[in-house]
């Protein structure tokens, strides 16, 4: 069996797809696994285990051809030739993790029997499969609801289950030896902590100021002997030089732009701690199990791309504008100031001295900041749990609801009282203080019931159309039915806008609906009925998990009971069975 994994993204994304390669190898031990990457990142891809054949796409060579007005025919020939030489015979399975149109077209060009991920169909429609890949698309639209790390979504989008083993890379022996020799050559005093600093990032808005990094360095030096390695790409070297200039003399080694990817990884693997923005080196550190303390500024969000593994720390500003409303152009960068060097130094010391990390309640000390500890849930999915206990708020509560609801909806997993449910309960009680604000239960319950109602209505109409004999497909009848169905979508849009908590479910429904080109009425009606059924399932999962969490958590139950008009919710959270059955009787 030939499997082709397409990942035309960057360093960090490549490392984050390592669990996919591991999962595929486990699921298809005999298969030949090929990994297609941009040639810029070939060096990174070479570190990924489980790859039988690495297929670099000739980006460097193609770029000047594709950019030219008259040279693109050369580009055409290059791509055609590349496809013919490397993708014959056609792979049996393509897993495309690249969420771009380019990636989708490439997956189509592979003409594989099965494609997982984002792809294109012969009738020129874009589609994503399985459901978790749709979920990945949804998270870009209803981002705040996302409760899963990209690493797990990649795995699930590839049709695999996360195994809780985190990221992995293999460091070549010579790179390991060179890193060892390099460190020995520095003749550092025994007991010196080796700390990496990554002041750069993909965007300036995501860079915590170099002055702050330097301040952290000085504070750490006050507590224990440290030596700092400034890491980054060649283009980040000036920033590295600036940081080095701000540090006490003799305490830093500037490595930015001076190492290969293998060398960088080997060096990171020898560090006691990496302090970094959300960058590729952060994922490399997570992959070699070096403790990470990372900042998630501007548009970066811990829950989406935080460092995967046990025991890493991720710091996020507690600002209404985070994640950034203008991630590419914000000039205020309030998030930079929200994270103080004092706080970073204190948490970094916790990691360096391997102190046990457990949620603490002194929120007043860490104003403007949330610190997350990375871990895995009992189902092997990655999680970032808040270390500073604050009253449970609406945003966090709903993230946890989604954490329970989506696997139930998309995988059919999760029953009340199972390990995930228990874990969610523990998170609620262990990481948060009792709620002090409206968790949106009343409003969301009402909106979810309306969602179920609309979905049932749509399903009923679609079923009636589906079951109608073709001779009754008169234009006027079809028009009436279409009008009735058409009336439902604006209502769903309204719900999504008014209720961010359930917007993801509705976006998911619209995503499944996109680009349908079916013209046969019965077939169209069948697809539509199925989509409404799934929307109902999504809403039902949310409602169930919300009810279970509310019932299962004493604090929330107390909180609900203290508000008379909400007390009935604890009992009435789950939809009545007959409400579901009425529609389920449809063929």
């Amino acid at each position: 069996m030939d499997i082709l994994v397409i990942n035309l993204m960057r360093l960090g994304d490549l490392v984050q797809s390592s669990p996919v390669l591991r999962g595929l190898r486990r699921q298809y031990p005999e298969a030949r696994i090929t990994l297609a990457v941009q040639d810029f990142f070939q060096e990174t891809a070479e570190l990924l285990p489980g790859v039988d054949r690495l297929l670099p796409f000739p980006t460097r060579q193609l770029a000047p051809m594709a950019d030219g007005k008259s040279s693109w025919p050369e580009g055409y020939r290059l791509v055609a030739q590349w496809l013919a030489s490397h993708l014959e015979p056609r792979p049996d399975l393509v897993v495309n993790l690249t969420p771009t149109i380019m990636g989708a077209i490439l997956s189509y060009l592979c003409a594989a029997r099965e494609v997982r991920g984002f792809t294109l169909t012969g009738d020129r429609r874009f589609l994503t499969r399985p459901g978790w890949m749709n979920y990945l698309m949804v998270t870009s639209r209803a981002r705040l609801a996302n409760a899963f790390n990209l690493v797990d979504i990649f795995a699930k989008g590839a049709g695999l289950q996360p195994d809780g083993a985190g990221l992995e890379v293999q460091i070549p022996a010579d790179a390991r030896d060179q890193a060892g020799a390099f460190l020995t050559g520095l003749s550092l005093a025994p007991g010196t902590s080796l700390v990496g600093l990554v002041p750069g990032a993909s965007q300036p808005q995501r860079c915590w100021p170099a002055e702050n990094f330097a301040e952290v360095g000085r504070k750490l030096l006050n507590s224990r002997p440290c030596h700092f390695f400034i890491l980054g790409s060649r283009s980040e070297r000036p920033l590295g030089e600036k940081l080095a200039g701000l540090m006490p003399p003799g305490t830093t080694t500037l490595c930015a732009g001076g190492t290969s990817i293998a060398g960088l990884t080997a060096l990171i693997s020898r560090l006691g701690l990496l302090i970094t923005n959300d960058t590729g080196p952060m994922h490399l550190a997570a992959a070699v199990k070096t403790p990470v303390l990372a900042f998630f500024l501007a548009g970066a969000r811990v829950r989406d791309t935080g460092p995967v593994g046990e025991g890493h720390l991720a710091l996020e500003p507690r600002l209404d504008c985070h994640p950034c409303h203008y991630p590419d152009s914000c000039s205020l960068c309030k998030c930079h100031a929200a994270i103080s060097p004092e706080a970073v130094a204190a948490w970094a010391l916790n990691l360096l001295e391997k102190r046990p990390l457990a949620p603490v309640a002194d929120a007043s000390r860490w104003q403007g900041l949330q610190v997350y500890l990375s871990t895995f849930d009992p189902t092997g999915h990655h999680a970032h749990l808040p270390l500073i206990r604050r009253p449970l708020d609406r945003k966090n509560f709903w993230t946890l609801v989604h954490r329970g609801a989506w696997p139930r909806f998309l995988d059919g997993n999760g029953v009340p009282g199972d390990s995930l449910g228990r874990w969610l309960g523990q998170v609620l009680s262990g990481c948060f203080l009792p709620p002090a604000e409206d968790l949106g239960l009343t409003a969301s319950h009402r909106d979810l019931m309306e969602l179920l109602d609309l979905a049932a209505q749509g399903e009923r109409l679609a079923c009636r159309l589906r079951d109608l004999p073709p001779e009754r497909h008169t234009p006027s009848f079809l028009w009436q039915q279409a009008e009735a169905i058409r009336g439902i979508d604006p209502e769903l849009h309204r719900l999504a806008v008014g209720s961010p908590e359930i917007a993801a479910c509705i976006e998911y429904y619209f995503l499944e609906q996109r680009g349908g080109v079916e013209t046969d009425v019965s077939l169209l009606a069948r697809q539509l009925a199925e989509a409404y059924r799934r929307l109902r399932q999504a809403g039902k999962s949310c409602l169930e998990v919300m009810g279970e969490m509310a019932r299962g958590n004493q604090d929330i139950a107390c909180y609900i009971n203290s508000i008379p008009e909400m007390a009935h919710l604890v009992q009435g959270m789950t939809p009545k069975d007959d409400q579901i059955l009425e529609v389920a009787s449809c063929k």
Binding site: S70, Y76, P99, I101, M102, I105, L109, T121, R124, S140
Partner: protein, 596 residues
């Protein structure tokens, strides 16, 4: 018969167009013919002597002798007063002369018998190099070369067999928010396109409503001014943004476009060349003073004393670029009887009610006279003549009025004079618009007018109200004469005064001012054939290229936009093209992550 008449007679037989051009050429005051020490006249242009002021005859003879007796044709760059040409003609040499200046050529023909040269059609004017022998030996008349280095370079290139034409350039034309230079900006963009350059018109007209709305925001004039300046500054920023996107070789800004010195400095850091066309009267509007030093080429409508004013301010990169005609906007038109009634009259004027026009036109109200345009006072003696309650006239309606009117009056505006400006120099756009329509016009005399149209042959000219009245009566009675003159004027426009032609001249001037800065791309011999030749005849892309509808760009963008719309099953070649297109979009930093 004078020497001039003798020469002209020969020239009329051999090269009638050249004869007409020279006959219509007026010699400006800075071209002085003075007696030399030895007697025969010598020529001085500005401060440059084109011949010896001591003994020009001897100088000419010595120069001719210095060439030796090499066989083969000689191409002499520079006619001067002809002293160096006469000995060569006397020797019977095969001589060709290229003279860049019509004024100098006219003076030479007035002062020397050049019939042997003219008989063999050996004189070329400006940058018309047609028929010059490719194997000719180029020799320079040094003072002429010094005076006209650009045309000299072009001649050298021409003789070296290099294509004198520029390849396709990327040009961004920047227009104003409103006003008379707005249509000129549009025509300019169209002219560059016609020349085959990839041209974009950055049109700020949509922002005009907002600009006007600012006046309603506050009663404080200073605050209003500040707000308007802020809007203009913002619009300036949009130019930079567009420039970064479009990456032009040349930014060509029109008068009143929202640019100021800091923005021009910023633009120059982004673009190889920035040109500005100041289509205003420099004495009425003086903002040229701060803009001219900031651009690579500053084009103006006037000559002296504007040239001197610029020189005094240290500006070197200026040149006169007269207006022209846009044939898409102004052209002969068949009107139906209803339109003829509405737009027609014995005498019409289209334009704004400037002070001098308000005064002058009062002397014409006894004619069947229609006045179109804005800023006219309805409660004035002109009231009965004013059409549409002095509403603005669209370009389309102007075209109809010009075509429907028997005599189109054209009086250049002046805020200072009671009627005709006796010192008026440059000609307004209406002169060209009317001629392009094939419409008869009666225009006030301007010193530059003869450079473009032969007075009273192609356009009728007046210098006083009395003369205007006289000519109106005369021409109203002579339809055939009117038609003949209007047709001749249109002929002249088609040949010499289109925007494309004018802007080709502008690009030549820019090249002369900044040699080698504009890129010399090879002109594609039609993109589609070139593309088709880059794939084998039986390649599937050929079928896709063939299937492109007429007008669709035969490039990757055109192909892929069709591929996306097709309802047929997607083929592999189509998918590869689409992939390539997305790859390119990714490179250009757009839409690389467009998921669904």
């Amino acid at each position: 018969m004078s020497l001039w008449e003798k020469n002209l007679e020969v020239l009329r037989r051999v090269a009638p167009d050249l004869a007409a051009a020279l006959a219509a050429t007026a010699v400006p005051e800075d071209h002085q013919v003075l007696p030399s020490r030895a007697g025969p006249p010598y020529l001085q242009v500005g401060r440059q002597r084109l011949t010896s002021s001591y003994d020009p005859v001897k100088e000419g003879r010595d120069w001719a002798e210095s060439l030796g007796e090499a066989a083969g044709p000689l191409i002499v760059f520079g006619l001067g007063l002809g002293y160096h040409i006469l000995p060569l003609l006397a020797q019977g040499r095969d001589v060709w002369v290229v003279e860049p200046s019509a004024m100098v050529a006219r003076l030479a023909l007035e002062h020397q018998d050049l019939t042997p040269l003219l008989k063999k059609n050996g004189l070329r004017l400006g940058t018309d190099f047609t028929g010059l022998p490719q194997d000719g030996l180029l020799v320079d008349h040094t003072p002429t070369r010094r005076l006209h280095p650009g045309p000299h370079r072009r001649l050298v290139r021409y003789l070296a067999g290099e294509d004198g034409e520029l390849g396709p350039l990327r040009i961004l034309v920047v227009g104003p928010l409103y006003g008379g230079s707005h249509p000129i900006a549009r025509y300019t963009a169209r002219g560059f396109k016609e020349l085959g350059h990839e041209t974009e018109f950055l049109d700020f007209a949509p922002f005009f409503a907002g600009y006007q709305a600012l006046a309603q925001v506050t009663k404080d004039r200073r605050a209003e001014h500040k707000l308007k300046q802020e809007l203009l500054r913002l619009l300036g920023e949009t130019i930079i943004a567009r420039v970064r996107d479009f990456k032009p070789d040349l930014v060509f800004a029109l008068a009143q476009s929202p640019v100021d010195p800091p923005l021009l400095k910023a633009l120059k850091a982004e673009v190889p060349l920035v040109a500005y066309w100041f289509v205003e009267d420099f004495q009425v509007l003086t903002y040229w003073q701060e803009l001219a030093p900031e651009v690579d080429a500053f084009f103006i409508l006037q000559q002296e004393p504007f040239f001197s004013e610029l020189k005094n301010r240290g500006v070197k990169n200026y040149a006169c670029l007269p207006l022209a005609a846009d044939l898409e906007a102004y052209h002969p038109l068949e009107l139906d009887p209803k339109e003829k009634r509405r737009f027609g009259a014995a005498l019409s004027f289209v334009g704004a009610g400037y002070y001098n026009r308000r005064q002058f036109f009062q002397g014409l109200t006894d004619f069947d006279f229609k006045i179109w345009g804005s800023e006219w006072d309805l409660n004035s003696p002109l009231g009965p003549c004013i059409q549409d309650r002095a509403a603005r006239v669209s370009e389309e309606d102007s075209n109809k009025i010009f075509n429907a009117t028997r005599i189109n009056l054209n009086l250049h505006s002046s805020p200072f004079h009671a009627g005709i400006n006796p010192q008026g120099d440059y000609v307004n756009p209406r002169v060209f618009d009317l001629a392009a329509c094939g419409a008869f016009q009666l225009v006030d005399r301007r010193s530059q007018l003869p450079e473009f149209f032969t007075p009273d042959k192609e356009v009728a000219v007046f210098t006083s109200l009395a003369e205007a009245r006289e000519k109106i009566s005369y021409y109203l009675a002579r339809e055939d004469e009117r038609r003949a003159m209007a047709a001749a004027a249109r002929e002249r426009v088609l040949k010499e005064h289109t925007y494309a032609r004018r802007l080709a001249g502008a690009l030549e001037i820019i090249q002369d001012l900044h040699p080698g800065v504009l890129p010399r791309r090879r002109r594609e011999e039609g993109a589609a054939p070139q593309l088709q030749s880059s794939f084998p005849a039986d390649h599937p892309v050929q079928a896709l290229l063939d299937a492109l509808p007429e007008g669709a760009p035969p490039d990757l963008d055109g192909l892929v936009s069709r591929i996306k719309e097709s309802e047929e099953p997607l083929t592999e070649p189509e998918a590869i093209l689409w992939f390539l297109h997305e790859f390119r979009r990714g490179l250009q930093g757009r839409g690389a992550n467009g998921g669904s």
